[in-house]
C-alpha cells in the first residue's frame, strides 16, 4: 500500500506508508511463583499460533533460573517486559521473545508494578532502597533506559497494588505484616505525583488491609480489602481516580481483572472466629457502581466454581478472552484455562507450573 501526495512542483511521488496491522491472536506469558525459598519461580509461554505451551521458558532461553517467588509481570512496551522477583530482590527485564535484558537490584522485597512506558513504578515492603532508608514501605521510580532507581517516595506499611492515572500514582497500603510487627493494618490509598514522586494526599477507604491485585478500568480502580479474618470482614473498594470518591462492596475481590469497562472478581470470605467460608464471583460495573453475580457467562462462572484453588483471573485487553488458573494443591503443577467471551474454549486446560499467579497476553499482529 502506498499513499499519494502532491509535491509543490506538481510531480507525484510515492511515499511508502506503514501497513495497518490488526491483532491476529495472542501469546501468553504465565508467571509461576513456585514455592517460597525454593528458587523455582518459572515462566511458561503459550504460543497462540501453534497452540504449544512451553514450561521452564525463561530457563530454556537464558540458561539461568528466574529466581524465587516472582510476584508480578508487566508489559512495559513493545520490547520490554518487567518481572518483579520478590524473594530474589530483583526486577528482571526480558524482551517479548524471553531473552533477559538486565535487572534492577535496588528494590528488595518488591511487590507490584505499573509503568508509563518510560519509567517503572514499583512498590516494596522493605525499608531500604540503595542508601535510602524508610520507616514504612516505599515506591521506587526506575528509569527504564538505565534501569536505575531515580526517585522514591515513602508510603504506608507494606504498599501493594499500584496504578497510574493522569500522572498520579495510586498506591494501596496493606499493613499486611501487622500480625507480627508493631503497627496496625492500613486503610489508605496514597496518591503520589509521578513526576515529582511527592505524596499529594491519602484517601482513607475505611477498609483495612488493601492487599492483592488492583485492576484499572480507565479512571476506576478495583481494590481488595482482606479484612483481618477475624471480626473485620473483607470488602471490595472501587475508587474513582477522577473524583477520588470510592464505593465499598461487602464481598472480597481477591483476584480481579478488567476488560476496560467492567471488573471481574473472585474472592473468598473466611473467618477464624467461625471457620465459615463463602466464595464469591461478581462482575462490577464501576459506572453504575453495581455488582451482578457471575463472570462473563455461565460456562466461565461454573468453571471458576469448580476450581480447586483459583489463583489468577485475567482478561486479555487484545482479544477479550478470559484466562484463569488453578493452583490445585499449591505444591503440584497448576493449570490454565482460556475462554472466549462466547463461552467457547481457547484451548484445552494446559498444565503449567507451581502457583501460576500472573498472566500476560502479548498480541500477534498481522497486516490488514
Amino acid at each position: 500500500m502506498a499513499a499519494c501526495s502532491t509535491d509543490n512542483d506538481g510531480e507525484k511521488t510515492i511515499v511508502p506508508e506503514p501497513p495497518v496491522q490488526v491483532i491476529a491472536g495472542e501469546n501468553l506469558i504465565i508467571c509461576n511463583e513456585g514455592n517460597w525459598q525454593s528458587d523455582n519461580g518459572q515462566l511458561s509461554y503459550y504460543d497462540g499460533s501453534t497452540g504449544k505451551m512451553t514450561n521452564q521458558w525463561f530457563r530454556s532461553i537464558n540458561g539461568i533460573k528466574l529466581g524465587d517467588t516472582p510476584n508480578d509481570i508487566l508489559h512495559v512496551n513493545d520490547t520490554l517486559i518487567a518481572i518483579a522477583v520478590n524473594w530474589s530482590n530483583i526486577i528482571q527485564y526480558i524482551h517479548p521473545d524471553g531473552k533477559a535484558c538486565g535487572a534492577t537490584e535496588n528494590v528488595p522485597n518488591n511487590r507490584r508494578m505499573c509503568t508509563d512506558g518510560k519509567y517503572l513504578y514499583i512498590t516494596s515492603y522493605a525499608h531500604i532502597c540503595g542508601d535510602r532508608i524508610f520507616t514504612k514501605g516505599y515506591v521506587a521510580k526506575i528509569d527504564l533506559r538505565t534501569k536505575d532507581v531515580v526517585a522514591t517516595c515513602e508510603t504506608g506499611w507494606e504498599p501493594e497494588g499500584i496504578r497510574l492515572y493522569d500522572g498520579r500514582l495510586y498506591v494501596a497500603n496493606t499493613g499486611g505484616y501487622s500480625f507480627s510487627e508493631a503497627h496496625e493494618y492500613e486503610t489508605t490509598v496514597q496518591v503520589i505525583d509521578a513526576a515529582t514522586m511527592k505524596t499529594l494526599r491519602t484517601i482513607d477507604t475505611g477498609c483495612i488491609n488493601l492487599y492483592g491485585e488492583m485492576s484499572q478500568a480507565g479512571r476506576f480502580l478495583c481494590i481488595n480489602s482482606c479484612g483481618d479474618y477475624y471480626d473485620v470482614k473483607p470488602k471490595t473498594v472501587i475508587l474513582d481516580c477522577e473524583t477520588e470518591r470510592y464505593h465499598v462492596f461487602d464481598f472480597p475481590c481477591t483476584y480481579n481483572t478488567t476488560d476496560g469497562k467492567m471488573f471481574y472478581t473472585v474472592g473468598s470470605e473466611f473467618s477464624y472466629n467461625t471457620y465459615e467460608y463463602v466464595y464469591h464471583l461478581y462482575t462490577i460495573d464501576p459506572e453504575t457502581m453495581s455488582a451482578t453475580y457471575g463472570i462473563y457467562n455461565s460456562t466461565v462462572t461454573e468453571k471458576l466454581k469448580e476450581l480447586q484453588s483459583p489463583y489468577e483471573l485475567y482478561v486479555s485487553p487484545y482479544t477479550g478472552n478470559i484466562y484463569f488458573t488453578d493452583a490445585k494443591s499449591y505444591a503440584t503443577a497448576g493449570f490454565i484455562y482460556g475462554y472466549r467471551s462466547d463461552g467457547t474454549e481457547v484451548f484445552n486446560p494446559q498444565k503449567i507450573y507451581i502457583n501460576p499467579a500472573h498472566i500476560l497476553a502479548i498480541p500477534n499482529y498481522k497486516d490488514k
Binding site: S38, N40, N55, L66, N89, I128, Y230, A327, K328, T332
Partner: protein, 635 residues
C-alpha cells in the same frame, strides 16, 4: 538382677550373651577405656523380650562416629531419614519409615521430650556424650512397666543415659572448621551420677557451590553462627533416677539459597532458645510385681527476632514460653508366662506468647494404657490398648479429643532365629500451633493417623545380629498448611494420604577389635491423596527409594579408628515428581581416628571426606568437608 563383673574380657562376653538372650539386641558395647566396673542394666527380668524391630547405636559406636548430636548417630540406622537444614545451628529432625518427624517420639530414659507448640524435637540439642546408647524402635518397645506415653507414637527413639562406671573428671576441647570451638567437662562419680557441661561457639559461615545446567553459583552461607551452652546432671540411687538438663543457645537462621545478584540485602533472623527440664523416675521390680513412677517439669523459651534494619522482610520479634508438667505411673504383674501392665499418665502443658491475637492456652493430656503379655516356649505376644483424652483451654470454644488406639505384636523364637510381626495404629494430635496460631491455626483439625504393619526376621549369634523387616504403612489426614480457596490466607488443614512400603535390613557384627554396622533401606513412599491429581501415586518429596549406611569401628590397644559411609538415592522435592529434576543421589564418608596416651586423648575427624556437595532440603546446602580435632584429658 544386676551383674557386676571385674574382668574386661568377661564383661564383653557376658554382655554379648546376656543382651542377645534377653534383649535380642545388637551386640552391646563395653566401655573401651576403663577396666573398672561395668553395670549391665538391661538384665532386668521383664517377663518379655523386645520383639519389636529395633536398632541400637552403642556407646562404642557413638564414640566412633564423628559427630556430637543424636541426629548424627540416628542417620546411620535403617529406615531413618534425617532432615538437616545445614550447618551446626540448623534444625535436625528425623523421619522414620516416612511417617513424618512429628510421629517420632523421643524419650530420654523413658520420659518423652515434648514440644506442645510444634510437636517436633530438635535432636541437635541433645549430646551423645552422656549416652549409653541410642535406640530406635519401630512402633514401641514391648516390655512391662511402660508408660502410656511410650505407646503413643508411631516410632520411638530411646536415649539411655550412661551410668558412670568410675569416678573421673574429663575435660575436652575441640577446634573445628568454620571457626568452631567446643569445650566440655564431665565429672562422674562412680555409680551415683555425673555432671556434664559443654559450650560450643561457631562462626558457622561456610562456602557452598551449585553447578548445574542452569546455574553456576559459589557463595558463602552467612548468618549461620551459633553459641550454645548445655549443662546436665544425673543421679542414680537404687531404682531412683534423677536427671536435670539446661540448654541455652543463640543462633543465626540462614534462609534457603536463592538467586540473588549480590549479598546487598538480607533476610536475617535470629533465635534464642532456653530449655530446662528436671525429671525423677523410680522403678521397682520383684519377681511378680513391678512399679514405675515418673514426674517431670520442663520449661522452654524461644525468642525469634528479625527486627533488624538490614532485614528486607517481616520484622518480627516474638517470644514463646512453654511449661510442661508430667506424671506417670505404671504397674505390672507377672505370673508364669503371663503378664499384664497398666499405666496412666497426665500431662499439663501451656503456651504463652506475645504473638498478636494468640491467647494463652493450656492443654491437659491424659493417657491410659493396658497391656497383656504372654511368653512361653519361644512364643511371645503382646496386645496393648491406649486411650487418649486431650482438652485445651483458651479463649473461645475448643474441641476435646478422645480416641482409642491399639497395637498387637507377636514373635516366635527358635534357636537363633526370631520371626516377628506387629500392627499398630496411633495418631498425633494437632499441636497448639496447628490449632491456635494467629491467622494459621485451625480448631477444626482432626488428628493425623498412622497405621503400620511389619513382619520381620532376626538372626542372632555371638558375633552377629541380622534383622530384616518388611513393612507397610499409611498416614491419613495429614496436617498441612495450605492456602484457602480463593484467598491469600494460609491455614492448617487435614489434607493428604500417603502409603509407604519398605524393607529395612541391618547387620551388626563384632569380631575381636572390629565392629561393623551395615544397613540398607528400600522404600516406596507414595502420595495417595487424590486420584484425579497428577501427583497421585508420585513419590513423596524427600523420600529416597534406596539408602545404605556402613559404620566400621576398629579399636586396638590405645588406638581407635572409624569409617562411616552413607549413600542416599535421588530424592524428588516436588509433590509432582515430573515437573522438576530430583536432587541427585549422594555419598558421604566420614572418618575419625583417636589415640590415647596416659591421661591424654586426641581425636581427629573429617566429615564429608571427599567434599561432596549435597542437599537434604532443596536450596539448603550442606557444608561440605569439615575437619575437627579434639584433645581430651582424663583424670
Amino acid at each position: 538382677m544386676t551383674c557386676c563383673i571385674k574382668s574386661r574380657r568377661l564383661i564383653a562376653s557376658v554382655c554379648v550373651v546376656v543382651s542377645v538372650a534377653i534383649n535380642a539386641h545388637p551386640v552391646r558395647a563395653q566401655r573401651l577405656h576403663t577396666d573398672s566396673l561395668y553395670r549391665i542394666d538391661e538384665v532386668v527380668v521383664t517377663g518379655t523380650k523386645d520383639v519389636t524391630p529395633h536398632q541400637t547405636i552403642s556407646r562404642e559406636q557413638i564414640d566412633g562416629i564423628p559427630s556430637s548430636s543424636v541426629a548424627d548417630a540416628l542417620k546411620y540406622l535403617a529406615g531413618v531419614q534425617i532432615k538437616d537444614y545445614g550447618g551446626l545451628g540448623g534444625q535436625k529432625t528425623i523421619n522414620v519409615r516416612s511417617l513424618g518427624s512429628q510421629h517420632v517420639g523421643v524419650y530420654l530414659d523413658g520420659v518423652r521430650i515434648t514440644n506442645a507448640q510444634n510437636g517436633t524435637v530438635d535432636l541437635g540439642k541433645y549430646s551423645l556424650h552422656t549416652l549409653e546408647s541410642v535406640s530406635l524402635f519401630n512402633a514401641n518397645k514391648a516390655e512391662m512397666l511402660m508408660t502410656a506415653s511410650e505407646y503413643a507414637s508411631a516410632s520411638t527413639v530411646y536415649m539411655k543415659t550412661h551410668r558412670p562406671d568410675s569416678t573421673s573428671l574429663m575435660a575436652s576441647y575441640t577446634n573445628a572448621s568454620f571457626g568452631t570451638h567446643k569445650a566440655g567437662m564431665t565429672f562422674s562419680y562412680k555409680k551415683l551420677g555425673f555432671i556434664d557441661a559443654a559450650m560450643t561457639r561457631s562462626k558457622g559461615d561456610y562456602p557452598f557451590e551449585y553447578h548445574t545446567e542452569y546455574e553456576d553459583t559459589t557463595g558463602t552461607r552467612r548468618n549461620s553462627d551459633i553459641t550454645m551452652f548445655r549443662i546436665e546432671g544425673c543421679a542414680f540411687y537404687k531404682g531412683l533416677e534423677w536427671h536435670t538438663y539446661y540448654f541455652n543457645s543463640r543462633r543465626g537462621l540462614p534462609g534457603g539459597v536463592v538467586r540473588r545478584l549480590s549479598d546487598t540485602y538480607t533476610d536475617v533472623g535470629r533465635e534464642w532458645d532456653r530449655n530446662f527440664f528436671t525429671q525423677l523416675s523410680y522403678k521397682k521390680q520383684t519377681e511378680k510385681f513391678g512399679l514405675r513412677g515418673i514426674v517431670k517439669y520442663s520449661n522452654d523459651f524461644l525468642h525469634y527476632c528479625s527486627d533488624y534494619p538490614e532485614n528486607i522482610s517481616v520484622h518480627a520479634d516474638n517470644r514463646y514460653h512453654q511449661q510442661d508438667i508430667y506424671t506417670a505411673l505404671s504397674g505390672g504383674y507377672t505370673y508364669k508366662g503371663f503378664g499384664t501392665s497398666v499405666s496412666t499418665d497426665l500431662r499439663w502443658s501451656d503456651l504463652t506468647t506475645d504473638v498478636k491475637n494468640f491467647h494463652y492456652v493450656y492443654r491437659l493430656d491424659s493417657k491410659t494404657s493396658l497391656s497383656a503379655f504372654y511368653n512361653n516356649k519361644g512364643i511371645n505376644m503382646n496386645i496393648s490398648g491406649l486411650y487418649t483424652h486431650i482438652s485445651d483451654n483458651t479463649r473461645g470454644t475448643t474441641k476435646p479429643l478422645s480416641r482409642f488406639t491399639y497395637n498387637a505384636l507377636a514373635s516366635y523364637t527358635f534357636k537363633r532365629w526370631m520371626l516377628r510381626c506387629f500392627y499398630k495404629t496411633v495418631f498425633r494430635a494437632p499441636t497448639l500451633n496447628d490449632l491456635y496460631y494467629t491467622l494459621v491455626g485451625n480448631r477444626n483439625l482432626r488428628p493425623e493417623y498412622t497405621k503400620q504393619f511389619d513382619i520381620g526376621l532376626t538372626y542372632t549369634d555371638k558375633w552377629l545380629n541380622i534383622q530384616a523387616d518388611w513393612y507397610y504403612n499409611h498416614v491419613e489426614d495429614r496436617i498441612v498448611c495450605l492456602p484457602l480457596k480463593g484467598s491469600y490466607q494460609w491455614t492448617m488443614l487435614n489434607y493428604g494420604y500417603t502409603r509407604c512400603m519398605g524393607i529395612d535390613v541391618s547387620i551388626n557384627a563384632r569380631y575381636r577389635q572390629h565392629s561393623l554396622l551395615l544397613t540398607g533401606t528400600y522404600q516406596d513412599d507414595r502420595n495417595r491423596t487424590d486420584p484425579t491429581e497428577d501427583a497421585y501415586n508420585d513419590y513423596i518429596a524427600y523420600s529416597p527409594q534406596w539408602s545404605f549406611t556402613a559404620v566400621y569401628t576398629f579399636t586396638w590397644k590405645k588406638m581407635s579408628a572409624s569409617l562411616s559411609h552413607m549413600f542416599v538415592d535421588k530424592r524428588y522435592w516436588t509433590a509432582e515428581n515430573a515437573i522438576e529434576e530430583p536432587l541427585p543421589a549422594y555419598n558421604c564418608t566420614d572418618i575419625k581416628v583417636g589415640y590415647r596416651y596416659g591421661d591424654i586423648g586426641i581425636e581427629a575427624e573429617y566429615q564429608d571426606l571427599f567434599d561432596v556437595r549435597y542437599e537434604m532440603i532443596q536450596r539448603w546446602p550442606m557444608p561440605g568437608r569439615r575437619f575437627a580435632i579434639t584433645l581430651k584429658y582424663h583424670l
